[in-house]
């Protein structure tokens, strides 16, 4: 019977072989060294599969707007409406000239929605990929990377609103603008870290997502997003805003674009929080990577 299988026949499978000679070694246990090595290998694989991450993210955006006329430009449009509405309302409430408030609110809203979407989608980065997780072995960090890349695409659509506001008000790039590059790099690292942490946590404990959602809602009002300490200077100092991590992270990008010099303290605090976040993400991922397939 086996003779048939081994007999000569033209090989009809097209010469598409997967990654040949790959060796996977899985050793169970709680020792840190092998767990860390596995987590590192996972991250390396995600990096080498960047084209897949890219395609998955593009498809995610496409799917969300498949069949609609404007497509992903609905993002741009709804952000524009939001910026205009809040701009008019709060410039009246705060007694600020619209031309000063509009650049601020457009930046704040776009950056904040990037942050809060990243957090919300980070929570479900593993649970929504259950079928994929169960079908084949693939690096888990790919799902976190996908959320980050997808949200960068969303951000790119929303940036058009900022560009438009800045063009209309003739605000030009200034000498601080280059700080945008280190600032956004830090954001990407933090975003990936937060997705790994929340993804694992929310897979294990299913009532974390609503907790995170309500925390983010509070954070939106507590953090200078629609108001700013500078704008409300006449009201005196506002309680503890420099120690709010959202404020520091927001300001390392927002301040340079509004051509306000940013104090090194803000950067130092932002770096401090980011370091904690990255270390925490490392620990959580090393510890939970192997268990996530069981939890989903």
């Amino acid at each position: 019977m086996n003779v048939t299988l081994k007999s000569e026949a033209p090989d009809e499978t097209p010469g598409l072989s997967g990654p040949a000679g790959s060796v996977v070694f899985i050793s169970a246990g709680q020792a840190w060294a092998p767990l860390t090595a596995m987590a590192k290998a996972d991250l390396r694989q995600t990096l080498s599969l960047w084209r897949l991450v890219w395609a998955l993210s593009v498809f995610d955006i496409k799917l969300r707007y498949r069949g609609s006329v404007l497509g992903p430009f609905w993002l741009t449009l709804s952000t524009a409406v939001m910026v205009l509405a809040l701009g008019f309302l709060y410039s009246q409430l705060f007694h600020i000239v619209l031309a000063i408030y509009l650049p601020f609110i457009s930046l704040s809203l776009v950056l904040w929605s990037f942050m809060s979407n990243l957090v919300a989608e980070g929570c479900t980065c593993f649970t929504t990929q259950e079928t994929m997780l169960r079908a084949m072995r693939m690096p888990l960090s790919i799902h976190a990377a996908r959320v980050v890349v997808r949200n960068v695409f969303v951000l790119l659509h929303n940036i058009l609103v900022i560009v438009l506001v800045f063009l209309i008000l003739q605000i030009m790039p200034n000498k601080f603008s280059f700080l945008l590059i280190p600032g956004f790099t830090l954001w990407l690292i933090d975003g990936f870290a937060i997705c790994l942490i929340l993804g694992a946590l929310c897979t294990r404990y299913r009532d974390v997502p609503p907790i995170i959602a309500s925390l983010m809602q509070v954070a939106f009002f507590v953090t200078p997003v629609i108001w700013s300490p500078a704008i409300l200077q006449h009201r005196g100092r506002i309680f503890l805003e420099t120690w709010n991590p959202f404020f520091d992270l927001l300001d390392i990008i927002r301040a340079p674009l509004l051509s306000t010099p940013i104090s090194p303290t803000i950067w130092a605090i932002a770096m401090f929080y980011s370091t904690i976040l990255v270390i925490a993400a490392g620990l959580v991922f090393i510890h939970s990577r192997a268990r996530i397939a069981y939890w989903v």
Binding site: A9, T13, Y294
Partner: protein, 260 residues
């Protein structure tokens, strides 16, 4: 040389009830100072227990056993999807696991897009992805359906796409669950032919099936699973002879030789 080496692995599934999965319960447990106890007394289903196996090039392994014996879990563990709680596995060689018909496809995306994703996952170049799409399109006979979302397919079409996709990329180790044998007759003849050339190309085949005829026909080694343990491991004649009743065994032997 492909090989799978499994050393004394155990796989347990923690049973999280709606409540025990919640943060509230864990926090209350911390508060009451019995988190350690909680972790130990957490109810688990042990799916695989102390399994040691070594599969080498040329092995065509059939896995048999009752429902819930751990056949699929063993396949998933071999694929590296579930990492065991104890023990170790080393998998040497490119693996394709045909575990369920939808193969982790995104049902909202079109067939063609899913093929592209699979190609990217396997690190194929854009030219090779085009060849993959052409190959899958011809084999699955889905043609214009490939431009439609997979969720609009009939279940038979999903099987066809999943099968064509999984078999178009040549693995060294092929893990298959029995769903593959549930298609319409005309497609099955074609699928069987393709599977045979693929099995010939693959260095290791692991097939979980309830159909003794299929096992007799394709396998040179059979593993009998019972309650998460390997009950017996040997040649198809030995194991199926013990597993089946005499007349079923005679029937399986006949089925095996007819198919040849």
């Amino acid at each position: 040389m492909a090989n799978i080496d499994i050393q004394n692995i155990s796989v347990e599934f923690p049973l999280y009830h709606a409540e025990s999965r919640s943060l509230k319960k864990a926090m209350f447990a911390v508060a009451a100072g019995r988190i350690g106890e909680d972790a130990k007394h957490r109810p688990c289903v042990s799916a695989l227990r102390n399994i040691t196996l070594s599969l080498n090039s040329g092995d065509r392994v059939g896995i048999i056993g009752a429902n819930g014996a751990g056949k699929t879990t063993l396949l998933r563990t071999m694929a590296g999807i579930y990492e065991p709680l104890r023990g170790q596995i080393s998998i040497c060689g490119a693996i394709t696991a045909l575990l369920d018909p939808s193969q982790g496809m995104n049902l909202e995306l079109t067939g063609r897009e899913n093929i592209r994703l699979r190609g990217l996952f396997n690190g194929l170049s854009p030219q090779k992805i085009e060849r993959l799409q052409a190959d899958v399109a011809t084999f699955s006979e889905l043609e214009q359906f490939l431009e439609l979302p997979v969720r609009t397919y009939s279940s038979g079409m999903v099987v066809r796409l999943g099968f064509a996709l999984a078999t178009a990329i040549k693995p060294q180790i092929l893990l298959m669950d029995e769903w593959i044998l549930a298609g319409d007759a005309s497609f099955m003849t074609k699928a069987k032919h393709r599977l045979e050339t693929m099995v010939r190309g693959a260095e290791i085949l692991v097939l979980s099936s309830h159909a003794p005829g299929i096992i007799m026909q394709w396998c040179n080694r059979v593993i009998w699973m019972e309650q998460g343990e390997v009950k017996a491991d040997g040649t198809p004649d030995e194991i199926l002879g013990a597993y089946l009743s005499p007349e079923q065994f005679a029937h399986a032997q006949a089925a095996g030789s007819i198919a040849v």
